[in-house]
């Protein structure tokens, strides 16, 4: 409070009687009245400065601010880019770091948040308690159906066949199921009714994901041969339907009866059951009811929500969470170092200038804010560029063939971008604090004597 009064006093001395008449205007510190840029970028500057210096932002919105030319904003912008090469290099360095940060956050999102639609919250998966590779008796299906809250249940069998060859770009999931019920469970799969009917009528029919169909150029009526690896048989299928799912599933579904007829040991067995509950709240009670029912049987089960089931697969890749987090941490820290180095260099260069500003009556706080604003501006520019690059890169990558199941639906969402920008801003503030504090503390006489 005392400092503030002191500040007013210096300003008043500096600008004479005018200052007493219109203190707001003096705060704007008109330095060059005939500036040619006065109208340009006014709104942008106002908004940036408004974010960094709330009080000045309000001042800027008044008429006097509009008239004045060398405002604080302009001063900050000019100083931030006074050494063009250095600012450019810093911005580029930050751009790449924030690109990486945005990508990592996007992968995180794709793994842990995005893959689950609202309909998914109503579904459960039952499998053999011992492992995924064991199968359960098919009669479990009717017993599960009897549990209160279960709307529909269908077997889902992993075929694990090879399409064409075992190259990664030709890999997709193949499930054997019951065509009469499976789409009542996967309610978010959209397929024309006539195609569903055609699939139900053809025992050797198959329905495919529309993204997959696009990738392989499949059309209705096309033939597809899947070479069995688990079952000693080849599936010769005809495409009867193309469905659209909210997220790419990389899957095809065929009639499990086909396999049961060809392979004796597959008869009456199911690898998994897909279950639809009547509401998301019932999911956990149904899961425990199913497991309790088969607890003491020779084939005990493990039932979990679809989300938990899929997360189990992600966890098997390794400790992905720690992996992503440590990369993010390294990136943010590296960004901080780069930004701090630049600020230290640029503030040290301007020691004399700081002394002049102080002579003119700029207070410690305003000098501190000036430099922090400068760093934030540079960091935000880098952040914005990084976000743009990330947007471009992700849309290019997600359309590339051969990306794995989880990465195919990757999207950069506005919250991710916002978070990246906020991180950039925080990095800007943190990087400038120390050098700006030193500059603010500078002794005027010593500063003026400084020769670099």
């Amino acid at each position: 409070m005392k400092v503030e009064r002191n500040n007013r006093h210096i300003e008043a001395v500096w600008s004479g009687s005018l200052a007493k008449a219109r203190p707001q205007r003096i705060r704007e510190k008109r330095i060059n009245p005939s500036c040619p840029y006065r109208d340009r970028c006014f709104i942008l500057r106002t908004s940036i400065i408004g974010a960094v210096f709330p009080s000045q932002g309000i001042l800027l919105s008044n008429w006097w601010a509009y008239r004045s030319c060398m405002t604080l904003t302009r001063f900050v912008t000019k100083s931030a880019f006074r050494n063009k090469r250095r600012s450019l290099l810093t911005v580029l360095s930050l751009t790449f770091s924030l690109l990486l940060l945005t990508l990592m956050m996007t992968i995180w999102r794709a793994f842990y948040i995005d893959t689950f639609s609202a309909e998914s919250a109503q579904r459960l998966v039952t499998r053999h308690r011992v492992s995924l590779t064991e199968s359960m008796p098919l009669f479990y299906r009717e017993k599960i159906r009897a549990i209160p809250g279960v709307v529909a249940v269908a077997p889902n069998n992993w075929f694990g066949g090879i399409y064409k060859d075992s190259k990664p770009e030709n890999m997709f999931a193949q499930f054997g199921t019951d065509p009469d019920e499976i789409l009542k469970i996967f309610t978010d799969f959209k397929m024309p009714a006539d195609q569903l009917l055609a699939w139900q009528r053809d025992r050797a029919g198959v329905i495919v994901d529309d993204q997959l169909a696009k990738r392989f150029g499949w059309k209705l009526g096309d033939r597809m041969v899947l070479q069995g690896t688990i079952y000693p048989m080849d599936l010769e299928l005809t495409i009867r339907g193309i469905y659209t799912a909210p997220e790419p599933t990389e899957s095809v579904y065929y009639n499990q009866k086909y396999v049961e007829e060809a392979v004796s040991f597959a008869k009456g067995k199911a690898g998994m059951f897909a279950i639809l509950a009547d509401s998301p709240n019932r999911v956990s009670t149904i899961a425990s009811a199913v497991d309790a029912m088969f607890r003491n049987s020779p084939e005990p089960t493990k039932t979990e929500s679809e989300k938990a089931f899929q997360l189990g697969f992600i966890n098997s890749i390794g400790n992905v969470k720690a992996f992503i987090l440590s990369i993010c941490f390294a990136v943010v820290f590296a960004t901080l170092l780069v930004s701090a180095t630049t600020m230290a260099m640029s503030i040290r260069e301007r020691t004399r200038e700081v002394a002049v500003l102080k002579t003119l009556g700029f207070t410690r706080q305003s000098i501190l804010r000036l430099y922090i604003g400068e760093a934030v501006l540079v960091a935000l520019t880098g952040g914005a560029l990084g976000c743009l690059l990330a947007l471009g890169l992700v849309s290019a990558l997600s359309h590339a063939p051969g990306m794995s199941l989880f990465l195919s639906g990757m999207k950069v969402t506005p919250p991710t971008l916002l978070l990246a920008i906020i991180v950039a801003g925080i990095v800007g503030v943190l990087s400038a604090i120390l050098p700006a504090y030193h500059a603010a503390k500078l002794d005027i006489v010593e500063g003026l004597r400084y020769i670099g």
Binding site: T95, G312, T341
Partner: protein, 387 residues
């Protein structure tokens, strides 16, 4: 004449803060890169050394993993009589019919359940894997519900000590020993008697795979073809080394993401290094002009500044490698798309990784240092002196 390197070292020391911060930036990039490289090296070691070049793995034609196999047990005696199989001290051929199944075990640290491979083998199976050495207890007794656990299982799962019991399939299994196979994929397995395990999983009368030990690598290759070409058997032979090589591909995702991350971070760090070097050049423009007047040529000034940038990045590389050393040997698991189970491998720092890291840092230094050095060498003497 060249400018002595001590000049560059002195300059780096003079601007301590800047040097340290830039070197730290490079160090972080190097750390990330080294981390990923060491991870891949560990992964490769786990899979590459698992196979023995004279072991032939036999599976049903068309199956790609031991998990998806399954052939009639009647074929096994035929396999045993094939020529080229080594004999043990009693004169019996060294061949083992095996089952691999996957069970779910809870992790020791309580972070969830993980799929683990359980291998049922004959006693010949131990003979043909001389790498696996008992570190505690004894091997399992055929006909008993006993298992031995790999080192990685012993470390990562509760109830995997000698004397404990593991609960899977139809009942309890007594842990009677711990074995170490030197960081290979076998360390992530549980071994027991093949008949006991087949019985528990209702798989009597068949084997998922058979291992045959050949007398030498040439015989192994011949044996492999003999198995595959025999029309009666409908089986396929692969060298054990080839089989594990294929499994390394589960590290593909790490490799792809790792390379990608390292390259982007390197670009960012190069820009930062360039910034520092430009500042160093601008700061010393009068000094450079003086050097030119004394008679140092443009190429020697160019070289000097490039060397300075390289020194800076070397410092970064050094710090980066030191930062990663505490993590050396840290182990993690990776899911295997062929076996559905987790293979444990450890971060493995080797001289090759360290050298690659230094090379990586030097490239960053070169990228960041060349333009400023060029700028320094091209400066106009008179203008610089007046500045």
């Amino acid at each position: 004449m060249a400018i002595p390197i001590s000049y560059n070292i002195r300059n780096l020391k003079l601007r301590k803060g800047l040097t340290i911060m830039t070197a730290l930036g490079i160090a972080l990039t190097v750390t990330t890169a080294v981390f990923l490289m060491a991870l891949l090296t560990g992964l490769q070691k786990a899979f590459m050394t698992s196979g023995d070049p004279i072991n032939v793995l036999v599976m049903r034609k068309g199956s790609t993993a031991e998990l998806s196999g399954g052939f009639d047990a009647d074929l096994f005696p035929t396999l045993k009589t094939l020529p080229g199989i080594a004999k043990d001290t009693q004169g019996d051929p060294i061949a083992s019919g095996e089952w691999v199944v996957v069970v779910v075990l809870p992790r020791k640290d309580g972070t969830g359940e993980v799929n683990v491979s359980v291998r049922g083998l004959m006693s010949a199976g131990l003979t043909l894997r001389p790498n696996a050495k008992l570190v505690e207890g004894r091997w399992f007794t055929p006909g008993q519900r006993e298992v031995v656990v790999g080192n990685a299982i012993h470390n990562r799962f509760s109830g995997a000590n000698v004397g404990d019991t593991l609960d899977f399939a139809k009942g309890q299994w007594k842990v009677v020993g711990v074995f170490d196979s030197g960081g290979t994929a076998y360390d992530s397995e549980i071994w027991g008697d093949v008949n006991q395990i087949a019985a528990d999983f209702d798989r009597q009368g068949a084997y998922a795979s058979a291992y045959l030990r050949a007398t030498d690598p040439v015989a192994a290759d011949a044996l492999k073809h003999r198995v595959s070409d025999d029309q009666r058997l409908k089986l396929e032979g692969t060298l054990e080394t080839e089989y594990y090589e294929k499994q390394t591909s589960s590290g593909g995702a790490i490799k792809f993401i790792g390379t990608f991350v390292a390259i982007i971070m390197a670009i960012g760090s190069s820009f930062a290094a360039m910034n520092t070097m430009y500042a160093a050049v601008a700061y010393r423009s009068r000094e450079i002009a003086t050097l030119r007047i004394i008679g140092f040529s443009r190429p020697s000034i160019l070289t000097s500044f490039v060397i300075e940038a390289l020194l800076l990045s070397l410092l970064g590389a050094f710090v980066g490698i030191v930062l990663i050393l505490p993590f050396n040997g840290m182990s993690t698991g990776i899911g295997n798309s062929l076996t559905f189970s987790e293979t444990v491998f450890s971060l493995h720092m080797t001289w090759e990784v360290a050298l690659a890291a230094v090379g990586f840092a030097l490239i960053m230094g070169l990228l960041g240092g060349f333009a400023p050095a060029w700028h320094a060498a091209r400066q106009d003497i008179l203008t610089s002196l007046r500045a």
